[in-house]
Symmetry: C2
Subunit: 343 residues, 2 copies
């Protein structure tokens, strides 16, 4: 099923905080509920967040009590701002909000009913396009990844997108084609998106896998048991640097040391050509409780922690970027620019 859907004034999400203990679809009926779901990571994953905020705007359009266009637009911008101020790193959130905002502003002269209709339609299109983009990435990725054992970090699977996943689509196509021997799943502390979410959804689909704690990745590579690494991205910038779940940079350094191909997979909506280098990407720091607990259990005395949710991997560590418009290789700055010109 899709991870994020919208119907008649309700945003429906698989609550990712409860997995793998419980599979539960929650229904959000206010903008505040949608915003809280993003902040608390009931929905997470850059493309899934993008769809969630687009549906948040649709929810506003279909439930607002605004009677005049002015009232409607005031509420629209308020909603836009509330959703925008949920999480800072993944760019799909801003991309989706701005795509709907732009459309609305282009149609400002239309009737209120028409504008509302356009918003709902556009949000649905954003979600549908995400699924199609994943399918294309799956095939592009499976073509360039070597046969053998693949290691992934965090969850860039079906749960992180509307459906199938970015990394998830690549793994599913490889599995179908018989080129994926074993999937190494990094548990991905502190929030355990690997152990909780990736292991759950890929095991469900019959992909052979083993969970390791994050600090085992180097040893597994040293033993020659990893043929490729693929991870998702929360924001890729113009020179190819990219932000992704904390721990990605460490994997990139290990991949280089062992000569292992290292790919990121993301749709064009994750690429932010307005930033020149990864140093400009804002990195979210989250609550200390995430580090001091694990899966609900307290694991440490109450001392200081550092808890960056993401890190930035410089482009020099990347073998290629698998997008929904093909695979981009170095030099990334030139080739990403070309990709967007072709669009």
């Amino acid at each position: 099923p899709r991870s994020v859907t919208y119907e008649n004034g309700k945003v429906k999400l698989i609550d990712q905080r409860l997995l793998p203990r419980e599979f539960k679809v929650i229904e959000l009926m206010t903008i505040e509920e949608v915003a809280r779901a993003i902040v608390t990571m009931q929905v997470r994953g850059a493309p899934a967040i993008g769809a969630a905020v687009a549906f948040g705007l649709a929810l506003y359009a279909e439930t607002t009590k605004a009677k005049t266009k002015d009232e409607f637009f005031d509420g629209f911008y308020e909603t836009y701002e509330r959703l925008k101020n949920t999480r800072p790193t993944a760019v799909n959130l801003f991309w989706a909000l701005n795509r709907v905002k732009k459309l609305v502003e282009e149609h400002r002269e239309n009737s209120l009913d028409k504008i509302k209709h356009l918003i709902v339609e556009e949000a649905q299109k954003i979600a549908d396009e995400d699924v199609e983009a994943n399918l294309r990435m799956g095939h592009y990725g499976a073509e360039v990844l070597p046969e053998g054992n693949v290691l992934t970090h965090c969850n860039a699977g079906s749960l992180a997108t509307v459906h199938l996943g970015t990394v998830g689509a690549v793994l599913r196509v490889m599995h179908k084609e018989g080129t994926l021997k074993l999937l190494w799943v990094d548990e991905t502390r502190p929030v355990l998106q690997g152990a909780r979410l990736s292991a759950w959804e890929y095991h469900y689909d019959g992909i052979p896998l083993k969970i390791i704690s994050d600090n085992m990745a180097g040893f597994v590579m040293q033993q020659g048991k990893v043929d490729a690494i693929i991870v998702g991205a929360d924001r890729i910038v113009a020179n190819g640097d990219f932000a992704n779940k904390i721990g990605t940079y460490t994997l990139a350094v290990l991949a280089k040391e062992h000569g292992i191909p290292f790919f990121t997979v993301a749709p064009l909506s994750t690429i932010d050509m307005s930033l020149k280098s990864g140093k400009e990407i804002p990195i979210e720091e989250r609550a200390k409780e995430e580090v001091l607990t694990c899966g609900g259990c307290k694991i440490a005395p109450d001392v200081d922690v550092y808890n960056p949710a993401f890190d930035v991997t410089p482009h020099k560590y990347l073998t290629g970027i698998i997008t929904d418009r093909g695979v981009v290789y170095p030099p990334f700055e030139r080739n990403l620019k070309r990709l967007f010109k072709r669009e």
Copy 2:
């Protein structure tokens, strides 16, 4: 207090599985209890295990009902074998057992009472020497480490030894001398010796520290916030390769990539000159439950895992080995040989 002591037929240990929730000293009165405490990691850390098995032999000597020397020696070898077959990687265990065994065999012709007395005395000596060795390592280490932020992995502190620690002694001397600005504590999944034990004992001593999850280490180094890395060792071999808690190898690769000094700290009893290269060190694999749970909470669906307890870091990544007889630098093969000749 000391982590491992012996008195009147009782081996006393701080139960490290309960920390930091509960500080409890347990009293072991049979060899089987001592063996189980090692297997279940109620006592862990290479030098602490060494002292624990030596005290196990003392416990045998003082509690055996053997009436003849033949009976006594049969029981002694049985005890020796039982304690030997607890954990395979840390060499201090074998070193301590063999040291007592050798002494006993040299005094085979003495009276039974004399032999028993010698065993208890030798076990006590092993424990006392460990504390003295740590003090010396503390001063040697503090002399060569740069002033600033230090990162450590697992626990090579007071709890991992009889007292003070290997890494622990270095950190304590640095803290006293004012050269330790901040200690980064890797949480060290799956058993969390960093978050549970290191954070607890160093925070207790007033050392400023921050816990990070293991996968954050690379990002912290990339930001220039780590000036040196020191870790313990479970076995160092003749060419300088060494086994230590899983995750150490990943830190070594990251240290190299960022030009950060990388030291291991261990007494001579941790150095195994009988093995030529790290490839010969047996690596213990532990139960899958350690990876599927965290601090007592279930965190993943019931899928396959890989759970090596240690990894091997090739000597090329090492800046130096801080021992109780001084700091050894490359070429390690030649300089370790010299160190043992001097002894």
